[in-house]
């Protein structure tokens, strides 16, 4: 069947899949299995597309499979034995898959927490009043620093990376302000809203009952909350998101 010498296509096919799988699994920190699944499906589809474009490759790829399932009496004993093993493995694999699906496990199901839900209407258009007084910036930053180190550092950490002393007790963990995915993406009004109403102020899709972020508007006055927002942006170097 194979006129050209070299690695059979089917073997290459499997090699690509294994290679991608190992590559994806090597990413640190490890990727969640939902994503691994997506990438692997994509790879399988991609490779199938490739082998099925040209008639010859398709033939080369599918012939061994067809032979495997149809059987081929003229082949030697080794091949026949191998075929039996492979055919036997298929139901076993399926059975194993079913077993894995139905055995009870203690891991809670995957969560789809919405990290940045839409804030309430009243919050949208607020601007930081402290930004209007650049001459008093230093004073505001000092206030912000005091607020932060008196209230926030235990959870959000002294390097603003969400690695405070308490951090490991919480799920979801305290926000990492240095990461590009938190305050860097948000407007000041949004951050102000999150600081003011904390976990309890979140809408239902963000699982407010899970969030350990306290509600600060009963403990800090408005100026203090704006000051800590200002301070966070100043310390991390991010610019608040703006429109227009």
């Amino acid at each position: 069947m194979n006129t050209r010498r070299g690695i059979p296509l089917l073997v290459k096919f499997v090699a690509v899949l294994v290679g991608v799988y190992v590559g994806v699994r090597l990413v640190r920190p490890p990727l969640p299995s939902s994503l691994v699944m997506m990438y692997m499906t994509l790879t399988v589809c991609g490779v199938l597309v490739y082998v099925s474009i040209y008639a010859e490759t398709w033939q080369e790829f599918s012939a061994p499979l067809v032979e495997l399932f149809r059987g081929s009496p003229e082949r030697g004993g080794l091949w026949q034995g191998g075929r039996q093993v492979v055919l036997g493995l298929i139901p076993l694999l399926l059975g194993f898959g079913v077993y894995q699906k139905v055995t009870p496990s203690f891991t809670p199901p995957a969560e789809q927490r919405v990290v940045h839900p839409a804030p309430p209407f009243e919050v949208m258009g607020l601007t930081n009043p402290l930004q209007q007084r650049p001459d008093r910036l230093q004073e505001h930053l000092e206030l912000g620093a005091r607020v932060y180190f008196q209230n926030c550092v235990y959870c959000h950490g002294d390097r603003f990376d969400g690695e405070g002393h308490f951090a490991h007790g919480f799920n979801p963990p305290p926000a990492n302000f240095v990461d590009a995915g938190t305050i860097a993406q948000l407007q000041e009004s949004y951050v102000f809203w999150r600081v003011s109403t904390g976990g309890p102020g979140l809408p239902a899709e963000s699982t407010p009952w899970n969030s350990a972020m306290p509600k600060w508007d009963t403990m800090l006055n408005e100026e203090e909350r704006w000051a800590v927002v200002l301070y966070l942006y100043h310390q991390t170097g991010w610019k608040p998101r703006t429109w227009e």
Binding site: R28, P32, Y39, P117, A118, W243
Partner: protein, 608 residues
């Protein structure tokens, strides 16, 4: 056999002829009765008190309206999209004198007439459902829009008449093509205005404007229609309709190809499938830009709605959308590559470049569908330290997505180019330069996309959204247009190095066509839901609150089930309609009489 045949013909005639008329009458009566509804509410306080009615036995009024509206919209999209390219096909037929195009245009129109009445029928059902289940909402809407109902009804009548003239006059107007083309143009124009009015109602729900007092009925209607998301939606829908129409026609051709019995049929439906796919891809290329504009306008109108849509609980829909669009790109490229491999000569030489394009496409697809925040179990989230993966969240943001999708557009375009020129050799003296310039432009375009994508991480959001993303779009558009123009010029009087062998493509190409159509149908159901549910618990955002028991947003799984049902029901009905349309009519379509040719002949039969 004859008896059965006659029977089928009778069914076909009934459905084709009278069915549409009945449906349209029903819709008209319904439309004209709405103002009466408003009146009734003013006079009798008893009926005005009813805000909602329900039919829990049928899964609840909300789901009912949802499904009916979605199916109506899918049909409407098809019915509005098909005449656009049917007409273009006819124009090409007239200009080139190639009878194949005229025949194809007629076949498109046949599908159009077959689906037209069902569109109207579902429109009528939708209207009845809304009046019955949401009387208060319809009262408020009618109060703003009643004048436009009349315009809608009038346009609808005119469109129906035009369509009948266009379709039934096809053969008799063969030597008066000018008139026929005018009719076709009129058909499109009427359809467009019709769609605009309905878009006005729908967008008003999302982005209502404050209506000053003391406006006349017409002024009120127009003020309501001309709201901030009106134009983006118009453009998005027109393009989307062409895509839907193209891919559905492609799927139709694919299925006919699979069931073809003669060589002639195979050749014809292979070609029709190719045209359908081409139209679909052609529309697909600018579609993301239109969607981008629409989202931007939504953000601008109301950030809260924008965040709900793109960052809030609806953001998961965009991951599904990404997967569907990715499959669509992959599927249509696959179809081009299959065409290259089976229809052109010496296709082996493209193997390397196809592999390269495939790999880039897959990488882009991977980036394109990587979610911003991950679905992870508790353990996994612990290991990552939250749902933001430090490495992957880089791929989850807009900069990466825009770059990926623009690259996918460029690649699809390159695939098409490759296919287009596969059997042609330029004869102009500057052919080599042209080729270098084209490749150079595509490569430079891709490099610019990459650069701006990376640069996007280092600039504030405003710059990214209003400058970088827009520049990416413009660069891609410029490449598309320039390369096409150069191609057209340099391929003038090109010598054909080989014939395209139609009718030999393997069945998997037809399956790819069907897959593409399915993806578009699912996409429309998905994004239709996204746009509607971004209003959350409002009928009319900020103005009229939904106080029914169905004011909640369904869970993602439930919503997906409803969307999938919509797509499924739509496919069922479409299959039925196309089956009816393909029943033998009085005039045999020509294929029935054709001599069955052997498979060998099929291979040799070539067109163009």
């Amino acid at each position: 056999m004859t008896n059965l045949g006659e029977h089928r013909r009778w069914i076909a005639g009934l459905l084709r002829g009278r069915g549409s008329l009945i449906a349209q009458l029903v819709l008209l009566i319904g439309l004209l009765s709405i103002p009466a509804l408003g009146l009734a509410q003013e006079t009798s306080s008893a009926s005005a008190a009813v805000a909602y009615r329900d039919l829990p036995q049928l899964g609840g009024s909300r789901n009912l309206v949802w499904i009916v509206a979605q199916i109506h919209l899918l049909f409407a999209g098809f019915v509005l999209g098909v005449p656009i390219f049917a007409w273009v096909c006819e124009v090409i037929g007239v200009r080139t004198g190639d009878p194949r195009y005229d025949k194809l245009a007629k076949e498109f129109t046949k599908l159009l007439t077959a689906a037209y009445s069902t569109t109207a029928l579902f429109g009528a059902i939708l209207l009845f459902a809304l009046i019955a289940f949401y009387p208060r909402f319809m009262g408020v809407l009618s109060d703003v829009f009643y004048a436009s109902y009349l315009a809608y009804a009038a346009l609808f009548l005119l469109e129906t008449v035009t369509l009948y003239l266009y379709w039934y006059g096809w053969d008799s107007m063969q030597d008066r093509k000018g008139l026929h083309l005018t009719l076709g143009f009129l058909l499109n124009a009427l359809g467009f205005f019709l769609m605009m009015i309905a878009n006005g109602w729908a967008t008003f729900q999302n982005s209502p404007v404050v209506l000053p007092e003391n406006l006349t009925g017409w002024e009120r209607a127009w003020a309501g229609i001309n709201n901030p998301t009106f134009w983006p939606l118009n453009i998005h829908r027109v393009i989307g309709n062409v895509v839907l129409g193209g891919f559905i026609c492609g799927a139709y051709a694919g299925i006919r190809y699979l069931s073809a019995t003669t060589a002639e049929e195979r050749v014809h439906y292979d070609w029709m499938g190719y045209v359908g796919n081409f139209i679909g891809v052609f529309g697909l290329l600018p579609l993301p830009f239109a969607g981008y504009w629409l989202t931007m306008e939504i953000y601008r109108y109301n950030q809260q709605m924008g965040i709900t849509l793109m960052g809030g609980f609806l953001s998961w829909l965009f991951i599904i959308q990404a997967v569907l669009i990715g499959v669509l790109f992959l599927g249509s490229n696959y179809y081009f590559w299959l065409g290259l491999a089976y229809r052109t000569e010496g296709a082996e030489r493209h193997k390397k470049i196809i592999l390269l394009m495939l790999i880039v496409l897959l990488l882009c697809f991977g980036v394109w569908m990587t979610p911003h925040s991950l679905v992870a179990s508790l353990q996994e989230a612990r290991a990552i330290g939250g749902t933001h993966h430090p490495v992957l969240s880089v791929l989850g943001v807009m900069s990466a997505k825009m770059t990926a999708v623009n690259l996918m557009i460029l690649i699809s375009f390159a695939s098409f180019l490759l296919y287009w020129r596969a059997n042609k050799v330029e004869t102009v003296s500057w052919a080599k330069g042209a080729r270098v310039a084209q490749v150079g432009m595509i490569v430079l375009g891709a490099l610019y996309l990459l650069w701006s994508g990376v640069y996007g991480y280092f600039v504030p959001a405003v710059v990214r959204v209003y400058v970088l993303s827009v520049s990416q779009v413009l660069v891609v558009l410029a490449v598309l247009i320039l390369v096409t123009v150069i191609s057209i010029l340099s391929m003038r009087n090109a010598r054909e190095s080989g014939v395209l062998r139609w009718g030999r493509i393997p069945p998997r190409a037809s399956y790819a066509l069907v897959l593409n159509a399915l993806m578009v149908i699912l996409l429309m159901s998905l994004m239709g839901y996204a746009r509607s549910s971004s209003r959350v618990h409002w009928h009319i955002y900020g103005l009229l609150e939904d106080t029914s028991p169905y004011a909640f947003s369904p869970a993602l799984g439930e919503a997906s089930a409803v969307m999938a049902s919509c797509a499924f029901i739509f496919c069922l009905i479409v299959s039925f309609i196309f089956w009816v349309a393909s029943l033998p009519s009085e005039k045999a379509s020509g294929f029935e009489k054709a001599e069955p040719a052997s498979a060998v002949v099929a291979g040799e039969l070539t067109a163009r």
